[in-house]
Point group: C2
Chain length 236, copies 2
DNA sequence: CGGCACGTTGAAGGGCTTCAAGCTCTGTGG
DNA sequence: CCACAGAGCTTGAAGCCCTTCAACGTGCCG
């Protein structure tokens, strides 16, 4: 079980803030474990509280009118989730779902409102985080608008490598997250069949090694080439 | 020519803030006119300053590796542009381009940094704006991931109606912006030909009236139906 | 060891892109 | 004032990337 203070110390959000402030946050914190597939909050609900991921992974998922699901963001330990809407009392922009068993710290939005007014540096810290997410979102919009599926999948895997990649010997990077074809499809606006075919092709080329809900990057450079380079979608 | 104080009063960002603060902002402000197609800042540049749109329209555009352009956001008078990255001194997430002759107020990022620390409410105000944009971006990601071109175009036109729509008699809404097929294509991740064909179909159904760089919504309800409803992409 | 979720592979088809050719406005200079 | 150039737009045709449907493996777990 994670320690609340420990999570805060390691989080970009709270690191180096006055101890008195951390005390007040820790005091207001609740702790809960979410199992895989459980939702911590629901798209459209009015946000009174927000989360910090203690351990595990969560994703922010949006539902379309015709029942599809789209993953718009992934969160790892230390990341705040739903923080801005909780400050304002607005609606959650998506549902928060645990990708695996996750320890979550639940905090009231109101407290944050007070703390920001007392300590503007905290506001700047939050701005920085939200700004980075907006940046990511814009990049994702560009990719979805203009790029082929294969390239989008390559990019998302490289992003995942940054977030949850574990480096092993020989430049091999294991993605430490349960990652089904369906998950990759939802992150890239495609179907599980297309992901399956793409991964199979990459596997034949020795670029990745893919198992059940699990992917390992063998040749990162080749993946970067696919993601960045300019070849008009030839099949591998 | 717009008055700086006037723009600030009407802007969501500054409205109701202390006069002393507005004074300091106005003092640091520069004024410049950008003609259609001119860029106010460039994707990837380090941000030292940010903008407020005084009059006209600007868009944030990203460039892909293979030379395509993608519009990720549109800004109208009162909107701040590049504000968060300017506070932090990070890189602009895209280039800011004038869609028509626009009066722009240019402000240093550093000043904002100081003001936030003196007056936390300003930070909250910025947070609110950025949060709304992130929300928009997530919605756009969902649409691009899971929805057909026709529906995306319908949605973007409804959004534009909110932003720059001028209501005329009989529920008719004129989009007050130079809007070419190419522009609509770049906002929706498609091609100008597809946009042309879609608009032509809608025109035949009497839903819109489209001219050279100009669109008017005749039947908003029908457009909402296309954007929200669940019909499997039948052609009009 | 059977059930079920995850994954693979094939085949068909369609929405969109791409390429191409020609049209129609709008502004401009002779 | 008119012609012309060029940007914006239309329309057709070809084709392909990707989705969709379908059937069948495969591995995990109770």
């Amino acid at each position: 079980m994670v320690e609340i203070r420990d999570v805060m110390r390691k989080s970009e959000l709270f690191a180096d803030l006055p101890v008195s402030m951390l005390d007040r946050v820790a005091e207001a914190a609740h702790y809960r474990v979410f199992e895989r597939g459980e939702l911590a909050f629901y798209q459209g609900d009015v946000a009174h509280s927000w989360l910090v991921v203690g351990s595990g992974r969560m994703r922010l998922v949006q539902h379309t009118v015709d029942g599809k699901e789209v993953t718009v963001a992934i969160f790892v330990p230390g990341d705040p989730v739903g923080i801005v809407v909780a400050i304002m009392g607005e609606e959650y922009p998506g549902s928060a779902e645990a990708l695996e068993t996750s320890e979550i710290i639940i905090l009231p939005g109101e407290l944050l409102w007070q703390l920001i007014h007392e300590h503007a540096a905290l506001g700047v810290r939050i701005l920085k985080i939200v700004s980075a997410r907006l940046h990511d979102a814009y990049n994702q919009i560009r990719e979805l608008s203009a790029e082929r599926v294969q390239r989008r999948i390559a990019r998302s895997m490289l992003r995942l490598a940054d977030k949850v990649g574990i480096k092993e010997s020989g430049g091999v990077i294991r993605l430490d997250i349960p990652l089904s074809r369906q998950d990759l499809a939802q992150m890239n606006g495609t179907t599980l069949e297309t992901v399956s075919r793409t991964l199979a092709a990459w596997e034949r080329s020795g670029i990745v090694s893919a198992g059940r809900e699990h992917v390992t990057i063998l040749k990162q450079d080749d993946l970067v080439t696919i993601a960045e380079d300019l070849f008009p979608a030839r099949s591998a």
